[in-house]
């Protein structure tokens, strides 16, 4: 099976995020990027499928700082082809534009299956997967935590709240949004990544223009004020219980 996995880099939340002078975008001066965690699961699921049934895994990523490392790591894990999409991505690109650029490249690769991470934490205009599926004219199923391939279709395990699973039969070619691979993403020894840096090739494909339509305009960004220390609830057990019930109600858990 010919599997394509587009991955994207997102701001690393371990670092403090800051908002830039415009007040409507993240400050990128100190921002560190990392691979979207769900995309990491998509890569793992693709490699598991290949190990089980053979085929080829191609990883696609839009250009960004450190993206080569992400691609080489995927190669060390077992991906066969690495493609970097270059273009004016330094601007605050949105997922509509990204999906359109990816679609052009994916189409040429003629995949049987496209796996993406089900979402990323900065998808203000929706996740990449369903957009890409539509631009490619393929069906989409998201929240997937297991994939079995058979002739001309796959059976995807789709997750619903409360642990309920649905088995969806999806005709190929298709796009799946991976929530969790069947196995946790594997660890590859750093020496293997270094080997991949020497032996694997990253081919580049240029996108001339980005079509950003489809996303809302951000007026303002702000950080929810972080509490310093817990607000202490005074009183005896009944008073504390009463206040807690109110707090639980406000939080929507009661």
């Amino acid at each position: 099976m010919n599997i394509v996995v587009p991955v994207k880099l997102v701001p690393d939340l371990v670092e403090e995020l800051e908002i830039d002078e415009s007040g409507a975008a993240l400050d990128t001066t100190w921002m560190r990027l990392m691979v979207n965690e769900f995309d990491d699961h998509a890569v793992e699921q693709a490699i598991l499928l290949k190990e089980r049934g053979g085929g080829q895994v191609t990883i696609l990523a839009p250009d960004a700082e450190d993206v080569d490392d992400v691609l080489f790591t995927a190669a060390a894990k077992g991906a066969d082809r690495l493609i970097k999409i270059t273009g004016p991505f330094e601007e605050q690109v949105n997922n509509h534009a990204l999906a359109r650029s990816l679609a052009a490249v994916v189409e040429e690769l003629q995949p049987d299956l496209v796996l993406t991470g089900v979402q990323a934490h900065n998808d203000l205009d929706g996740p990449v997967g369903p957009l890409l599926a539509e631009y490619l004219g393929m069906p989409y199923v998201g929240y997937v935590s297991g994939v079995t391939a058979s002739d001309g279709n796959v059976v995807a395990q789709k997750e619903y709240p409360g642990g309920l699973l649905a088995e969806m039969e999806v005709a190929l070619p298709a796009v799946l949004g991976i929530q969790a691979a069947e196995e946790p993403p594997r660890y590859v020894a750093f020496s293997r990544v270094r080997q991949a840096m020497k032996s694997a090739d990253i081919s580049e494909q240029a996108v001339a223009e980005l079509d950003l339509s489809g996303s809302p305009t951000v007026g303002r960004m702000f950080q929810p004020e972080a509490g310093e220390r817990a607000t202490m609830i005074e009183g005896d057990e009944d008073e504390v219980a009463t206040r807690l019930v109110e707090i639980f109600k406000d939080a929507g858990v009661l």
């Binding site: 371990v14 946790p184 660890y187």
Partner: protein, 401 residues
């Protein structure tokens, strides 16, 4: 230099066996008497499928595949106890056990807990997964100055290599703050690398990640190279071991001492500053990577004895016989894995010895230990009163305000 992966070669057994010869004194492995002293002294020897001697036996029988199928090699905390007693003087910890972990890791046979720490190390330069930009956050609000070299823009006498846990772990940050106070009181001309400092990588190396170790060592090497200083002093015995014994082979060679050595040399200057009595029976835990591995036994004890009021008591296992706290060689990141197999913690065993020695204070000199022993003291009967303190903290306390 990176040891090449041998996993794919025709005979893994053969390739693995001969790769052991590359470690200094590695050929001693041929002389193993199968005496089992190693398995006996190993704190988890009774649980390992292949403790060192048995692994050598398996290698001789061309059965290394069986070793690769097990996961109990991950019970090894690189404590050096086996290497210490081996009559054939085989480098069991540095060679055999570490190489075995490297092979397991290359084959992807690695506990998930450990995977997180390694991924964090790769991405953030520390196993805790903290922001590298916050590496010097512990210095905020201190009385004394802790100069960061990029900002200081001047040569210093001492480059203080702080280490991962002393930089980030809330309990161990207090140790760093105490040491800063002591260094300032002594008028030492020092600086730290701050965000430019990376994990020393030694525990990652001993957990089988040699490639990662080399990458981090190179980063530290580049940072060292930017500044002028006379020597490196470190809070962390693991960093000390790496800088002293491993970095030079990578072309990164600087004089280095553990802080206890550095301070012991200044005892005359230090003693008059220790005015506050610490009325307590104190016992000292020899960290594996300061004591057994690098033969530093006396300096920590000299510092403790210099504190007025301190009565030094020894535990039954001490000096080269010291019991491992369980944190080395990746043990710090395999807590759940180890517990599942052993249902005990070495740190608890050690705390029991401290209680048996009648100690009020368990003094330590390795940043893995305050959190490990304080946690263990909560579980051990009769350890409720036991206080765990780093020697730097005891010295700072004795200096008063």
């Amino acid at each position: 230099m990176a040891k090449t992966a041998v996993s794919q070669s025709a005979s893994l057994n053969e390739a693995f066996y001969t790769s052991l010869f590359e470690v200094p004194d590695g050929e001693q492995v041929k002389k193993c008497l199968q005496c089992a002293s190693c398995s006996g002294v190993c704190p988890f020897g009774y649980l390992m499928d292949f403790p060192p001697g048995r692994m050598i036996g398996a290698l001789r029988a061309d059965m290394f595949d069986n070793v690769m199928d097990t996961d109990t090699v991950w019970m090894c905390m690189s404590c050096h106890a086996c290497a210490e007693v081996c009559p054939a003087q085989i480098p069991l910890t540095a060679g055999l056990m570490t190489r075995a972990k490297e092979e397991l890791l290359l084959a992807g046979n690695i506990p998930t807990e450990l995977q997180d720490a390694l991924e964090n190390s790769q991405r953030y330069g520390n196993p805790l997964g903290e922001s590298p930009r916050k590496r010097a956050a512990w210095t905020k609000g201190l009385d004394g100055d802790v100069p960061i070299l990029t900002k200081a823009k001047r040569p210093v006498d001492v480059l203080w290599f702080v280490g991962d846990y002393p930089s980030y772990h809330p309990r161990v940050q207090r140790v760093s703050q105490a040491l800063a106070k002591v260094l300032n009181a002594l008028g030492v001309d020092f600086g730290i690398l701050g965000p430019e400092e990376n994990s020393d990588g030694d525990s990652q190396r001993l957990a089988g990640e040699r490639g990662l170790f080399e990458m981090m060592a190179e980063k530290n090497g580049r940072a060292f190279h930017k500044y002028e200083f006379n020597e490196i002093v470190t809070t962390d015995p693991h960093a000390y071991n790496a800088l002293k014994n491993e970095y030079p082979a990578l072309g990164i060679s600087y004089p280095v001492r553990h802080y206890t050595q550095f301070l012991a040399e200044r005892l005359d200057q230090l003693k008059p500053l220790l005015k506050q009595e610490v009325e307590a029976r104190v016992t000292y835990h020899d960290p594996c990577y300061l004591g057994r591995t690098n033969d530093v036994y006396d300096e920590p004890r000299q510092l403790l004895k210099a504190i007025p009021g301190v009565e030094l008591a020894e535990m039954s296992h001490q000096r080269e016989n010291s019991l491992c706290c369980g944190g080395g060689g990746g043990g710090m990141w395999l807590d759940g894995f180890t517990w599942e197999r052993a249902e005990t913690r070495l740190s608890e065993w050690r705390v029991r010895e401290a209680v048996a020695a009648g100690a009020d204070i368990l003094a330590v000199a390795c940043p893995y230990e305050p959190p490990r022993f304080e946690d263990a003291a909560k579980m051990v009967q009769g350890a409720g009163r036991l206080v765990v303190k780093d020697i730097a903290e005891l010295l700072a306390d004795a200096m008063g305000d």
